[in-house]
């Protein structure tokens, strides 16, 4: 039997229906990004209009880097729940009894986490841009919209989300406890946070080359992620808790 998009779609639809019936999950997902947007907006609004262009560019760049934490952080708990949660609720076995392949199951789960993550991340970024346009000094607003800032944001959001989702699902597939999985998956967000910290502390200087290198690395990780997670997804261990 070949890879079935219909089975992937069945998993995605089920997950989205679950979110719809449990809006609290999406509510709490959106709560963290609201905190993340507060700092960049405050920075944006208090930046003096007469600030030197180099300083202004750095400030804008840092604000946008904060925004990139959103796709890294937001999916971690959902991704960590994806396998361990089903297992804990006893719903994993009935699904694995069907002809679904582990790759189909995992891609369905990943896309179901990616959908709200990207929606929230882009929505928050849209809010940020709207606030900048409406309330920030025109010079600062034009600095945000100028150059490659927006493009970088649009490009890195799915790449970072992909990283976080696959690491979260990998942890979920190997964890015997959902709480442990969720706590561990927070670490998935640490590498992007570390890069932002290094930029903020001027240990590394942001550049187009660095951005391209990071994007390429994330793309490779995201593309290989599902294969790596599929390799560690062991039906028997997940069902019985025993190793062969």
């Amino acid at each position: 039997m070949t890879f079935s998009r219909r089975r992937v779609a069945a998993i995605i639809v089920k997950e989205l229906q679950d979110y719809r019936h449990n809006r609290f999950v999406i509510g709490t997902m959106a709560f963290l990004p609201v905190l993340f947007i507060a700092l960049p907006i405050v920075q944006l609004l208090i930046t003096p209009a007469a600030e030197a262009s180099s300083k202004l560019d750095a400030r804008v760049g840092l604000s946008l880097l904060y925004m990139l934490l959103i796709p890294a952080f937001v999916p971690s708990t959902l991704a960590a729940y994806s396998v361990a949660g089903e297992r804990e609720q006893g719903t994993l076995e009935p699904v694995l009894i069907t002809p679904i392949r582990r790759e189909e199951f995992l891609i369905g789960k990943a896309l179901a986490v990616a959908a709200p993550t990207l929606t929230i991340s882009y929505a928050i970024f849209g809010i940020f841009l709207a606030v900048a346009k409406l309330f920030a000094h025109p010079g600062i607003a034009s600095a945000i919209f100028a150059g490659s800032h927006v493009l970088v944001q649009l490009l890195f959001t799915p790449l970072l989300a992909g990283w976080s989702i696959w690491v979260g699902i990998a942890i979920s597939a190997r964890s015997s406890d959902i709480r442990a999985a969720q706590q561990l998956s927070i670490f998935a967000s640490m590498p992007p946070l570390a890069i932002i910290a290094l930029i903020q502390f001027k240990v590394i200087t942001p550049s187009t080359g660095l951005a391209l290198a990071l994007a390429a690395a994330l793309l490779i990780i995201d593309a290989l992620g599902w294969r790596a997670v599929a390799a560690i997804f062991d039906r028997e261990r997940l069902i019985t808790g025993s190793r062969r």
Partner: protein
């Protein structure tokens, strides 16, 4: 291995199936829905089950009995390709049990686990739609309606599963298991934790599936359930201890006997029963005597005449009935005795 019968299945009819994702597979071959040969599973040093062999015919309801921890669920999971066996071989719905054939086997069977495993926030319809998608079924609406009608839940399709009672959830799980029109339906402790009313509902549903010719592999430790529903039963206690029709098992394990109830004990029962060639042995019971005989029909008139001649007031003479529970307990007791140092 303990005392194991022939394991020959009571094949009723070859199964023909239509409309499911499994249609693309080669049709089921042979007369047996399940053929299991010396199958075993170990988890490290622990033996879950070992050296298990049996066959199940299409349309048969096969009971798989055993105490907790006997390996029943592990056997079902192994046959359902969720777990890889460590020894032996099997054919499930005409497909050889192997890692490569896992997807093909899972398309042809259904397993209803002990816990319904429903998505509680989703409605009954949403749950079933998800699984119809996972089986890549056509005519999804029609199939869901038929499955819900089979379990008498058509009017609850829009209800969230979390709002249903345990018995109703079990029925939804059964509807889910029927969606793909399985060649073999595995029911793992389907009445576990249910109250008597819900248990009877599930029994009635299994009975109706049986009438429709669905092949059912029923694991249970409820013996009256197995006796009522199953054509044949197997008793597992890590290894297969016994297999056959419930009445066959009784005959195999217990000698035939007559229960004689009399108003008062006989003055000299040794003289009365000892003189009868039809009686092979006897023991006194609170209400009379139990007599071991080889042919109850032949022995009963002779015993009645002897008792009348001895001036006994006969209340009744009837053949002793041993339940499946007696068979089960006898075997499990043997196991306990055997394990004692």
């Amino acid at each position: 291995m303990g005392e194991v019968g022939s394991g020959q299945s009571a094949t009723r009819r070859p199964e023909t199936r239509s409309g499911s994702a499994a249609d693309s597979l080669a049709p089921a071959q042979g007369d047996h829905a399940l053929t299991v040969e010396r199958l075993g599973k170990r988890f490290g040093d622990r033996i879950a089950f070992d050296d298990v062999s049996f066959e199940v015919g299409y349309g048969e309801v096969f009971g798989f009995l055993g105490p907790n921890g006997a390996g029943k669920t592990t056997t079902v999971r192994t046959l359902g390709t969720l777990i890889a066996p460590t020894s032996g071989s099997a054919t499930v719905a005409g497909v050889a049990l192997s890692a490569e054939n896992g997807q093909a086997i899972r398309a042809r069977i259904s397993i209803m686990p002990e816990s319904p495993g429903l998505y509680l926030r989703l409605t009954v319809m949403e749950n079933l739609r998800c699984f119809a998608g996972l089986y890549e079924l056509d005519d999804v609406r029609g199939r869901i309606e038929r499955a819900l009608r089979a379990v008498n839940l058509l009017d609850r399709a829009g209800d969230p599963c979390g709002s249903l009672s345990k018995g109703l959830r079990q029925r939804v799980a059964l509807a889910r298991a029927l969606l793909n029109d399985p060649a073999v339906l595995f029911l793992d402790e389907p009445t576990s934790g249910l109250d008597p009313v819900a248990t009877r509902e599930v029994h009635d549903l299994i009975g109706s599936l049986r009438e429709r010719g669905v092949t059912i592999f029923l694991t249970t430790h409820r013996l009256e359930e197995a006796e009522r529903l199953c054509d044949r039963v197997a008793i597992l206690s890590t290894t297969l201890r016994l297999i056959g029709r419930p009445d066959e098992l009784r005959q195999r394990l217990f000698r035939r006997s007559l229960d004689v109830r009399v108003r008062a004990p006989l003055e000299d029962h040794k003289a009365v029963f000892g003189a009868l060639p039809e009686v092979e042995g006897w023991e006194q019971t609170p209400s009379g005597y139990t007599l071991n005989v080889s042919d109850p029909d032949l022995a009963a008139p002779a015993i009645a005449r002897a008792l009348v001649a001895a001036d006994a007031d006969i209340l009744s003479i009837s053949e002793s009935r041993h339940s499946l529970e007696d068979v089960y307990l006898e075997l499990i007791d043997e196991d306990v005795e055997a394990k004692r140092p």
